[in-house]
Symmetry: C2
Subunit: 333 residues, 2 copies
């Protein structure tokens, strides 16, 4: 730092300002100091900088433990978020926890250990204690997931699942399907209920009756195969299946193909259509139509919201971003 100050013919505190508070330095001086910094390869030791500025440029994000169901969409989000954050000068710090309380304990520990700048939360849900805790501690955070009825005000980014499933169901109705089943998660899962509502909306908008209640898959995705078999063996089987996830759609698709039905074609004949959700890595190889979440845009919006939160004087950002997913048509629909 002394070398930079001497070479640029400024004081040490000016060099410090160029690094930590560039707006305080006149543009000409700033350019001169930056040129010298680039020339000398000087990089301030972040640990020392952290103590001075109380900024670590670290953003903490949860990753579930190995036993938990690995949602591919969260892994894709982590890839995208790491890249976007890195472009904006931040790094992602990982931690693992199960349940709100364990996660809050981890926040507490991490805040003590690393002077974190912010958190990115995933899997928001009703009665989410995490967001209230972070607000109380005045810790900046953004959630991938809307507040689902929580009154804690905070910036969030989410994908409109109901819209995606409505578009998928409308596509099937327009193709002539009149008996469209929805294979979902148990009622009470916020995202699952939201997606299911899109299936109902499409029927209401077309003036068509909804084919009974949603089918609820409680355990493994593969249970959807048996659920599909029961529906197909019923007196008036569905001609199309809209599924809350690609994992559940895979079970349905497996049952349909094992019966020699041709996915995607319409009755009469042996046609049965299937549409999944998430456009995961299995969808393209098996020709499964699916609803794709714009995860790159989600990560982008999260980092943009964080940028606002972490800009002095702007830390009251209440950005709410709801992005539209996209129906990807393939052989199965």
């Amino acid at each position: 730092m002394a070398t930079v100050a001497e070479t640029a013919a400024v004081s040490r505190s000016t060099v410090s300002n160029v690094i930590n508070a560039p707006h305080r330095v006149r543009p000409e001086t700033r350019q001169r100091v930056e040129a010298v910094i680039a020339e000398t390869g000087f990089r301030p030791l972040k640990a020392a900088q952290m103590l001075r500025t109380q900024r670590s440029h670290l953003i903490a994000v949860i990753i579930p433990p190995p036993g938990a169901r690995l949602a591919e969409v969260h892994n894709v989000f982590l890839h995208a978020l790491t890249q976007r954050a890195q472009e904006a000068g931040y790094r992602i710090l990982l931690f693992t926890a199960v349940g709100d309380q364990e996660e809050i304990d981890a926040y507490d520990q991490l805040l003590n250990d690393y002077t974190l700048d912010a958190f990115v939360l995933v899997d928001t849900h009703t009665r989410d204690r995490r967001t209230a805790w972070l607000r109380r501690k005045s810790v900046p955070f953004v959630t991938f997931g809307r507040p689902w009825g929580s009154r804690t005000v905070h910036p969030w980014v989410d994908v409109d699942g109901a819209y995606g499933v409505r578009v998928a169901t409308e596509h099937l109705i327009q193709a002539g399907h009149r008996r469209i089943a929805f294979i979902g998660w148990p009622a009470g899962n916020n995202s699952g209920d939201d997606r299911c509502s899109g299936w109902e909306q499409a029927h209401h908008a077309a003036g068509l009756p909804v084919l009974g209640p949603r089918i609820e898959i409680h355990g493994e995705d593969s249970e959807s195969r048996a659920a599909c078999a029961r529906l197909l063996d019923a007196p008036e089987p569905p001609t199309a299946f809209v599924c809350v996830s690609d994992g559940i759609a895979l079970g349905v698709w497996t049952e349909i193909t094992s019966r020699g039905y041709t996915p995607g074609t319409l009755p009469p004949g042996n046609g049965t259509a299937v549409i999944g959700f998430d456009d995961s890595s299995i969808a393209a190889p098996i020709g499964l139509a699916s609803v794709a979440q714009p995860i790159d845009e989600v990560a982008d919006a999260c980092v943009t919201a964080l940028g606002k939160l972490l800009t002095p004087g702007k830390h009251t950002s209440r950005d709410h971003v709801l992005l539209e997913p996209r129906l990807v048509l393939r052989g199965s629909a």
Copy 2:
């Protein structure tokens, strides 16, 4: 810290030693100070501790950018590694990069910014410049992946892919298959070549001829469906397929089921067996037999090796751990 020292009736430097160098403190004193620390809820600010001890308890790991092919096994590894590292008192810091040089540049930047304790590398390959660079800089690291001919000596953990594919192929031979194809990656991919060698070994050990060269899939996994179709339309089609990945096996499985063949049964009849590699999340739902990598054990061994590297006086660990994968049989074989 002053409060802890006063309450425990010791000097500040004794409190510091209890935290940073407990072996220097007599057990009775240490217990007394630890009791006071627990009582007062005192936690040293890690940023300050980092400057004193030059230890951050941060381990950096790469995560590929979103555009790159997402190998599910790496995501599972990241989950397991985060958990194991956390249990051992470490946190994972993520970064993204493409290619050896960009990754080395990221190491350099991270080492300047965060006083990292160590790196965990994945995807080792021949002429790997990363390991040589880290050795030159005396930075502790462990690789998930063996050195593949590199002369840089370092601790590594890997899974014996050749063994896994040999066991899978032997299972098919014992079941009566004599025409077993291998659908792999292009020659030159270290892991892919290793797995392919297991297919050859099983034939040699049984005194059987190998069914032609491996089939190489250069682009998308889904290209394996067309490759499978070509083989099945040939005069003497294979009765079984061993695949280098589950993604490639999925394409094969899709082609087989679309022809009305029954996966897993033996000819005569329409039987065709398929075995994948990685036991990914698609395998169980579609009944795909696969070779499972013991990723929890890999993460465990990596953290154990790191623990040795980071223990003063033991930093010359050259642990080499080669773990055996496990054949998981399902309907397809």
